[in-house]
């Protein structure tokens, strides 16, 4: 009888402990060695590395091969490479950071930098960088953009400077010899291109992660900033305090509406994400787009559609400007900062960058002589970046503002006022609004 009771008791404890164990996450203690030996310094360390590479492309295959090369050549470091697309990467990172289960390194977007820094998730890389022999080969303005209060909190994985890409054959078929330089020139060319070729002149991303990147560029081209740092060290959107800024911001939304009205863009481009924008350009469905150097990688898949693509400076209104996407390599706080740095410095090294990012790397000693690399890097001086604040709510509001302008057809002034308020509301929610 007693034995039975004990058996039932044991079963109950087992069920309870199994259920509770399932609720646990990765703890912050050093990983136990396979032998149970508590000497982590002697053991191989496994680094979790999340990358948004596309394994089906040449670039993706090269990255995987290079990571394996590093893994094979470092007996004390194992790299656990996980492919996670950008669409879900952010959500997963935020959840992982809050659960104390962040990877050691990950790819990421520059829009997340302020957020992760505020969450105190990023490793201070300044001491490592200061000792690194290659530091002087990284563009100083790029490193500066990843530095907060004197501490470098991320590394540049690759640069996505945006340029105007155009299909020369489509422009020639329309009798146009040179790409447009300004918004007005673009709007004037649009009906001609449509009439002569049956194709639209331009492509935009009206939704998704790329739409705020394009919007911030057009705002900068009209001399408008999203949020400025104030005396108290916090940020504020000042359009509603400054009628000139508000009018200029409204002109940007008017430009979007004009593109639609002049049929310079396809009717459904107002809800295109980056996939549709890229794919339709690669297939030469429209003539021009402001896009990044990664498009060059699509040449092997679509040689016919890409053979006539040329690079120029983006069209502008008042001031030449482009979006400079510094895609960061995030190194998170962990028990293995030395090994994480070892791997990070390899990813930033000349050999890896030359193989993986020939035309978009952040190293000044590796400028590609081909048209793509040179032309894109020539635009680096006019590049704008997002302010270093939590951008989740702000980029969503920017996306919504485009929908208000193009889907709801709201007045551009109303859209500008709405976005201004939405940006400040978002800053307020994250405790980054000046005066709050």
């Amino acid at each position: 009888m007693k034995a039975k009771k004990r058996l039932f008791g044991l079963a109950a404890v087992l069920v309870l402990s199994t259920a509770l164990a399932a609720c646990g996450g990765k703890n912050n203690e050093p990983a136990a060695s396979p032998t149970g030996n508590a000497e982590p310094a002697q053991e191989a360390v496994t680094l979790d590395f999340w990358a948004a590479l596309d394994p089906s492309t040449d670039e993706g295959k090269t990255i995987q091969a290079k990571v394996k090369e590093f893994d094979d050549s470092h007996a004390e470091i194992n790299v656990n490479l996980q492919v996670i697309t950008y669409d879900v990467m952010h959500d997963k990172l935020v959840a992982a950071i809050n659960a104390g289960d962040a990877p050691d390194l990950s790819w990421g977007l520059s829009e997340w930098f302020g957020e992760f820094n505020k969450m105190d998730a990023l490793q201070d890389l300044t001491p490592y960088l200061d000792k690194w022999a290659d530091k002087s080969n990284i563009y100083p303005n790029v490193l500066e953009a990843l530095t907060v209060e004197g501490k470098t909190k991320a590394l540049p994985n690759y640069l996505g400077i945006r340029a105007l890409l155009y299909h020369e054959d489509i422009l020639k078929a329309a009798g146009i010899t040179a790409p447009p330089k300004t918004w007005d020139e673009l709007l004037a060319m649009a009906p001609v291109i449509k009439e002569k070729t049956g194709k639209e002149a331009f492509g935009i991303a009206g939704a998704g992660v790329r739409s705020p990147q394009e919007l911030i560029m057009y705002l900068a081209q009209n001399d408008v900033t999203l949020a400025d740092k104030q005396a108290d060290g916090k940020y504020k959107n000042t359009w509603q305090d400054n009628p000139d800024q508000l009018a200029k911001a409204a002109e940007v939304f008017k430009f979007y509406q004009d593109l639609l009205a002049a049929k310079a863009i396809q009717a459904d481009a107002k809800t295109w994400g980056w996939e549709e924008e890229d794919q339709n350009f690669v297939l030469a469905q429209y003539a021009m787009v402001v896009n990044g150097p990664w498009i060059e990688g699509r040449s092997s898949e679509n040689p016919d559609g890409m053979k006539d693509v040329k690079v120029a400076a983006p069209v502008y209104k008042n001031k030449p400007a482009t979006f400079m996407e510094i895609a960061p390599l995030y190194v998170y706080k962990s028990e293995n900062p030395d090994q994480a740095w070892e791997f990070a410095s390899y990813l930033l090294g000349a050999e890896y960058q030359k193989a993986v990012n020939p035309g978009k790397n952040p190293r000044s000693d590796l400028v590609n002589d081909s048209g793509w690399g040179k032309d894109f890097m020539a635009l680096a001086s006019q590049g704008v970046v997002f302010p270093a604040v939590s951008l989740g709510g702000i980029t969503k509001a920017m996306e919504d503002s485009l929908a208000r302008a193009m889907l709801k057809n709201d007045k551009p002034e109303d859209v500008a006022k709405w976005l201004s308020q939405a940006i400040n509301d978002s800053l307020s929610k994250t405790g980054e609004l000046s005066g709050s």
Partner: protein
């Protein structure tokens, strides 16, 4: 003949009853508790604990992006949710999405069940085919329909333009006035087979004798349907309709796969809004408040229905 009366244990005080239990009964009872224990644990861990946590969190400041703001929030989260610019839109969309989906599914399910209840050639094959939309995973169905509805290369736009019904391709999922209705249409397509099967089972239990007797008495097809067939489907109809009201109102995946609640929140329902609060804004306080409110709406709806049906039955 006097019916046999089974011996029933007299009602006794709990204490006396416990004393009266045999050792065997006690052992059986303990064993029963042990068998229930795993289920109880799972219920507590996977249902009760999260539910209580959500209710408690709805009164707390919980924003992963602003950890400096924490502690008791009172009704602030509820206030913020109700004052959200898109709350009313999401509430209205949830009602439209639920009512149109369930009504469309029921109508189509009933029609197809009536058709498949007839003695037609190939009936078994049709009964097998009709289940296909129901067994296709939602994500695959959603993505396939999204492709078919695309203006650039979607087959539906191609057909509509070729048939002369449209001048040019239309972006069904990308326009404010058609996005929600298009997802409703796809949801009806996907879910009606469940109604078909359930109602077909109900139809097969309708007595042929009564239907034939009514026909002999001069009742036409419509009269037989409204006064004989439909009343006998009442129980199964109410069951599947109420199950589907719950399933549809809390549905997340179909809308998320096809429109993510867009464009500009035109197809956003309350579950999508909860997800956006939690997984995009990382504001778990607001997400919990909205989830609690939604729970409240559903419970209120069913309490009202319960009282309504009890009163009706009393009459």
């Amino acid at each position: 003949m006097k019916p046999i009366e089974l011996e029933r244990p007299a009602k006794r005080a709990g204490k006396w009853r416990a004393v009266a239990m045999t050792l065997r009964e006690k052992r059986t009872k303990r064993l029963a508790y042990l068998f229930v224990l795993p289920a109880l644990l799972f219920f507590v861990l996977l249902n009760a604990y999260p539910l209580v946590t959500v209710l408690l969190d709805s009164f707390q400041f919980k924003n992963l992006m602003n950890k400096a703001l924490s502690g008791f929030a009172g009704l602030t989260n509820y206030k913020e949710v109700v004052q959200n610019e898109y709350f009313r839109t999401a509430l209205k969309n949830t009602a439209v999405w639920t009512i149109l989906s369930v009504a469309g599914e029921y109508a189509l399910g009933l029609l197809s069940a009536l058709a498949l209840n007839q003695q037609i050639k190939g009936r078994t094959l049709f009964r097998a085919i009709i289940i296909i939309p129901w067994v296709v995973p939602i994500v695959i169905a959603g993505m396939t329909w999204t492709w078919m509805l695309t203006p650039d290369y979607g087959i539906i736009n191609l057909w509509l333009v070729k048939l002369g019904l449209l001048k040019e391709p239309y972006y069904w999922l990308g326009e404010l006035n058609t996005a929600l209705l298009t997802v409703v249409f796809v949801n009806v397509w996907r879910s009606f087979p469940f109604y078909t099967i359930s109602l077909l089972a109900g139809l097969q239990s309708v007595s042929r004798d009564i239907v034939e007797a009514a026909a002999i008495d001069g009742a036409g097809v419509r009269r037989r349907f409204w006064y004989i067939v439909l009343p006998q489907l009442k129980t199964v109809s109410l069951t599947i309709v109420f199950i589907h009201i719950i399933w549809t109102a809390i549905n997340f995946d179909f809308i998320w796969v096809m429109t993510e609640g867009g464009p500009l929140y035109s197809s956003e329902t309350l579950p999508i809004m909860i997800y956006r609060y939690a997984m995009q804004d990382y504001n778990f306080g607001n997400a919990s408040a909205l989830a609690s409110m939604m729970l409240g709406f559903m419970i209120s709806g069913f309490i009202l229905y319960y009282f309504f049906s009890v009163r009706k039955n009393r009459r």
